[in-house]
Amino acid sequence: MTDATFSPARRQSALGKTALRWGLYIILALFAVYYLLPLFVMVTTSLKSLEEIRTGDLVALPREITFDAWRTAWSEACTGIQCEGVRPYFWNSVLIAVPGVVISTLLGAVNGYVIAQWRFKGANIIFALMLFGCFIPFQVVLLPMARLLGMMGIAGTIPGLIFVHVIYGIGFTTLFFRNYYVTIPQELVKAAKVDGATFLRIFWSIFLPLSLPIIVVSIIWQFTQIWNDFLFGVSFSQAGTQPVTVALNNIVNSTTGVKEYNVDMAAAIIAALPTLLVYVVAGKYFIRGLTAGSVKG
């Protein structure tokens, strides 16, 4: 490789630079195709009839657009013996995700506030222990959790799943809020104390109004985690309470009848839509959550 600025033939080097630039864009475009192709195939397949799928090309656009597969996926597809589509499971996921996100975010906010701003002896150890809880492989808690949910009488119920998601989500939400609050000078709490405000008043009047960006990060992270979860869903749910990921897997991998690829794809897109939507609308916060979860601070 030679550096263009050292080349004596300036015109040639300018030409080379343009060519390099074009090459760069072409490579980037090819990768864009690589990342987009599966989504493209999913969408087109879901809009084709089974007949067209069998005879046509994988990447071809549908000759005739039909929404039959979507209708079937939403309300008729079979997950094992039931044939109600993904609709009831989609709502199950909503019922699990909404309280799960709200409760774990609230707890994380309060925990982060205490750990970052009301440091007491041992607070750092508590934080380290909670942080480690984020990283354990959940397989190691599956068996005792299944027994505990049974003992509590919430095995296979939606509250049971909410409980599990909150428990294993607070490590992350605490991390988010702790790292956010730790950048706020401690003098703020001192000033408020001198002003006469109490622990909860300071949180409510001063810290919570400051926290909008990190609340968004936490909500998006928890929502994506809970919505996309499969392991807890498949381990701790039963026929009527399964989340949409489990239902999708059952539709795709049920071996009875004719394989309806278009229905599979429509169901997969339905299952993916909420998190994709969140990503498109608030991608910045989504990435912040991802990187906050991996690179501290």
């Binding site: 990342y35 309060v110 190691v140 808690v141 996309n228 794809m265 299952a271 994709l276």
Partner: protein, 291 residues
């Protein structure tokens, strides 16, 4: 009394979460560790019998496959994702006009559930109507691309999908790292007449060591926990060909009714994660103490 309450309120507020973590993380790990040392089968037993479950585990050909697969999967998935992520990050770092849009496209798979990713790739890779069929349709009659149903190749199909899912994320991590390098150093190098590629290899990339470590930790952690993608793509098959420790554990726990095996395999996974995460967390927390 009220004064005591107010002054201890921070601890009181933190207590429920902390107790929950103690019980549901550390207590449960303890329970699993205990049960992994017993003869538990369908129901847990609590008499310690030593390491018989681990002996059974290491004698099991299916576990052997799962571990071999973890090596292959982990090595290729982490390696390729990092290389691809780094290349993409460097390419995107060249003042690309449409950077925002391209970044969005590269990263969106990370927002999808592994089950959705698995479903999509299962369709694309299925030999009957997927890529193989398509290329054959173009006139290459002998083209075969049957990874999904070929026991020797199926694990690579999973790797392909996993890389698709997370390489964009690695790219985002690296891009942030590239951007955080002190621009004065880069300018100084440019003034010194150092070619761009040398600036990358000699200055920028070495200063990103912590990011490499972070990316490695995240990917290793994802690799060990990989479960959903295998279930959706191959269900662990053909046969046991694509079993990973996570699917092995699940099968033992919920379909084979072998709690002892489930517990001991979970403990092995735990130990692997432990070996990777603990030094990392330790160094991270030590850094925080200084600020």
């Amino acid at each position: 009394m009220a004064k005591w309450f107010e002054s201890h309120l921070p601890k009181i507020v933190l207590a429920p979460s902390f107790i929950a973590v103690l019980i549901f993380v550390y207590g449960f790990i303890g329970w699993t560790a205990w049960v992994s040392l017993t003869r538990s089968r369908l129901l847990p037993k609590y008499e310690i019998e030593g390491f018989i479950q681990y002996e059974r585990l290491f004698d099991s050909p299916r576990w052997d496959t799962a571990i071999t697969n973890l090596y292959i999967f982990g090595g290729l998935y982490i390696g390729i994702s990092m290389v691809l992520g780094l290349i993409l990050a460097i390419l995107l770092d060249q003042n690309i006009r449409t950077e925002g849009a391209i970044r969005t496209i590269y990263l969106y798979p990370m927002a999808l559930s592994m089950i959705v990713t698995g479903t999509a790739w299962k369709w694309i890779l299925n030999p009957g109507l997927g890529v193989q069929n398509m290329v054959q349709g173009w006139g290459f009659e002998n083209f075969t691309f049957d990874w999904l149903v070929n026991p020797d190749r199926a694990i690579y199909a999973i790797i392909l999908a996993a890389i698709w899912q997370s390489s964009g994320f690695v790219m985002a991590l690296f891009l942030a790292g590239l951007r955080s390098v002190d621009t004065e150093i880069i300018r100084a190098a440019q003034v010194d007449g150092i070619p761009t590629w040398r600036v990358y290899t000699a200055i920028i990339i070495p200063s990103m060591a912590p990011i490499f470590l972070s990316a490695f930790i995240v990917l290793a952690h994802l690799a060990i926990k990989s479960f959903d993608l295998v279930i959706a793509l191959t269900g662990g098959g053909p046969g046991y060909a694509t079993d990973l420790p996570a699917t092995y554990m699940y099968a033992m726990a919920f379909s084979r009714g072998d709690i002892g095996q489930a517990a001991s395999s979970a403990m092995i996974m735990m130990l692997v994660v432990f070996a990777i995460i603990v030094p990392y967390l330790y160094s991270e927390l030590r850094v925080t103490k200084h600020d």
